[in-house]
């Protein structure tokens, strides 16, 4: 891949083409060795750097994303490589970050902004709901809003109050927002590139407990395959709005997304020891939702459990149950079960293990799927 930088960027000295090429080629040579253990954090960081290399209109900003490289280091090195005009810290004001991104997207940029922690995004809720989601609609498509709101979300890290919310349902409920959540390292790279390439605004929910999860991934190959929107060579290697079969099985379907996918996989592993073959579906994009893949699996297995960390009441998990029930009723051998967080505010660190859906709770739900029939 030979990254190109638009001339407007060169003219302004935002980032020299040579710098970006050097950065890209250094990163590429480091990954030339084929599949290697790579963290989700590294995959996301590489996706940001690659997107910035190929398109000078991609900007990264938020709180602590510059010198510090983000509290989770997802933006590590971007300021050093691309300069303070391409990756910068803002004053501490989330509505300001989102609102400014709206204006920048209106005026030709592709901002990728970080909300630092899930619950920190709430002050920006009005901007997200009233403007990010609606600008395209209000202007009958005359104004596009290509922006990505990155939100580290979910629990399991022992965080204090306001650091562990699962806020995906708020965004999924808002028409006009795409909502992505990767559950593998490769998807972390691919889906973030896809989100940045999208002309629609994307709320990109990053399962924060998976930042340091390692998968064996050939990052170099992923980068080469992705191509770029700027070069007109996007290979469509992101989710394309499709769910994936994370583990094939025949007896029941576990439907999960983001941080619940590894838990579902662990439950399937445990069930296999007891002779039950569970299929695990990774939803990947909550909006748009892939009814086809999910329904196909449930029609095959006849049983389903939906798993999510978020409260179950009025949630993405309720929506999934409703959709599967509408499409698969005559194939179902048992009512669809849900395993979700309880309907309580996210608990303090010493209590979160009682709150979070774990393997045992999933296996109990699977046991309840009327197997005697």
């Amino acid at each position: 891949m030979s990254p190109t930088i638009t001339t407007s960027s060169e003219a302004n000295g935002n980032v020299s083409a040579a710098t970006a090429r050097a950065a890209a080629s250094a990163a590429a040579s480091a990954e030339a060795a084929g599949p290697q253990p790579v963290t989700m954090a590294k995959a996301l960081n590489t996706a940001l750097a690659d997107a910035m290399s190929v398109d000078s209109s991609v900007l990264v900003f938020g709180e602590d994303v510059g010198l510090l490289g983000g509290v989770f280091r997802i933006t590590d090195g971007l300021t050093a490589t691309f300069g303070e005009q391409r990756c910068f810290d803002t004053p501490l004001a989330e509505s300001g970050i989102v609102g400014m991104a709206v204006g920048m997207a209106i005026n030709g940029m592709r901002p990728v902004i970080e909300m630092q922690f899930d619950a920190f995004a709430y002050p920006a809720f009005e901007q997200i709901v009233s403007h990010v989601a609606k600008m395209h609609n209000r202007t009958k498509g005359m104004v596009k809003l290509p922006m990505v709101i990155r939100i580290p979300y979910g629990g399991g890290i022992g965080g204090v109050e306001h650091h562990c919310d699962s806020s995906e349902s708020y965004y999924a409920h808002t028409a006009g927002l795409k909502v992505y959540t990767p559950a593998t390292v490769a998807d972390g790279y691919r889906m973030l590139r896809e989100a940045i390439d999208s002309d629609d605004p994307v709320v990109f929910m990053e399962p924060k407990k998976m930042y340091w999860t390692k998968d064996s991934v050939d990052l170099g190959e992923l980068r080469r395959l992705h191509g770029s929107r700027a070069e007109g060579t996007t290979a469509g290697l992101g989710s394309g709005g499709r769910a994936s079969v994370a583990r094939p099985g025949t007896d029941a379907t576990l439907i999960a997304y983001g941080p619940s996918v590894p838990t579902a996989l662990a439950a399937a592993e445990a069930a296999a020891l007891e002779g039950r073959s569970l299929e695990v579906i990774d939803v990947r994009t909550i909006v748009p939702f892939d009814d086809e893949t999910v329904s196909a699996s449930v029609r095959k297995t006849g049983r389903a459990v939906v798993i999510a960390e978020a409260h179950g009441f009025a949630s993405v998990s309720s929506e999934i149950v409703a959709r599967v029930q509408e499409r698969c009723f005559h194939y179902l051998a048992a009512p669809i079960r849900r395993v979700t967080g309880f309907d309580v505010p996210y608990p303090a660190p010493k209590l979160e293990k009682y709150y979070l859906p774990g393997v045992d709770r999933i296996l109990d739900a699977v046991d309840d799927l009327q197997w005697e029939n």
Binding site: S8, A11, N12, N14, L59, Q85, T90, P91, A93, S95, G96, V98, G99, M100, A101, V102, G103, M104, A105, I106, N107, G108, M109, P111, P123, E126, Q127, S130, H131, K134, M135, H136, N137, R138, T139, K140, G141, M142, V143, K144, A175, G176, K178, S198, D199, D200, G241, V287, P288, F289, D290, D291, E292
Partner: protein, 409 residues
Amino acid sequence: MTISADHTAPDTTSPQEAPDTALNEAVKKFGITVEDYMLPARHQIQMVDPDGRLKPEGEQGTQPGHEYPVPGDKELLEAYERLVVGRRVNDQNSALVRQGRMAVYPSSHGQEACQVAAALCLSDGDWMFPTYRDAVAVMTRGVDPVQVMTIFRGDWHGGYDPLEYKVGIQCTPLTTQLLHAVGVAHAAKLRGEDTVVLAMCGDGATSEGDFHEALNFAAVFHLPVIFFVQNNKYAISVPLAHQSVAPSLAHKAVGYGMAGERVDGNDVVALLAVLDRAVKLAREGSGPLLVEANTYRMQAHTNADDDTRYRESAEVAEWRAKDPVNRMRTYLTDRGLLDDDGEARIREHAEAVAAQLREGLSEDVPVDPQELFRHVFERQTPQLKEQSAMLADELARDAAATDSKEAGK
């Protein structure tokens, strides 16, 4: 009074990067202290009094660094024409609401000087971010009047192309558009363009969080944004005294490190003078500015509001005497810039615009139900395709039912 030395002293380790360099440049130009530059003049800037007479320079409210030249004759004549058109548009639209042609119209009757000056101070490449009450400013900026009214006619939430006119969609949530203005300015600055962005809001909006975030962001990033506050004294029913106890809304600027100025919002001469300079300073890189215009909403918030419940008619009458249109007519006539023929020509133009609005808003514009699904995302999701098909089916069945009913007659 001066700002403490600590605050203004350049960072000795990297004086080139001192964040207030641009501000200091502006201060140097006027030969005053940073504080005197940032604080509004002690009195509001007023150049033409309510009786239409040019005030002596010493009584215009100016002070060193805050002196403003009277704008040129051509600009003043154009402003007057726009004022007359704006007043006619306001009154025509209010009438159309009463006739049921529009859902609602938040009139800027009484505030036309602010509306006109906001649009006229900008160059073609500049951007404006208006609120729901700023229809006259949007029209003055060049947007087709009927398109501007689409939002109030009720067939879509916006009616014009923001990118073509460089005018944001009229914003209903209070103050949120100020941040969009900041973003547009920031993007332009990164590309090396000299775009100035004027962002409009009212007095009530200055209490919202986004007001503070927008001012702070614009100041921290040194962006050429003019925050133009039309202080019309009421946020629906809540008077200014319940909104803010600051000496003036313009004083809020200094807290963010930007210059503020207050101006008579019914004096289009003063408004143009102050805004023209604000645009010039912003374009030269002096950073953002806040201009507060003291004006008055002569009519109710909208047709749904009963303003007799919260204000005295004497107060309204007092402001009627300060009318921006009459004032400007007297001033221009006295100066020999406007005669009966000129006045007649301008009235004719205003009537033509009013007729255009009546005609445009009397048409029953057919709405396309499928448009509901067309502009949610770049491409319809499978879910939207399903819903679109469902609606198409419903409509087809309705049409078939109507046809068979007709046939049976």
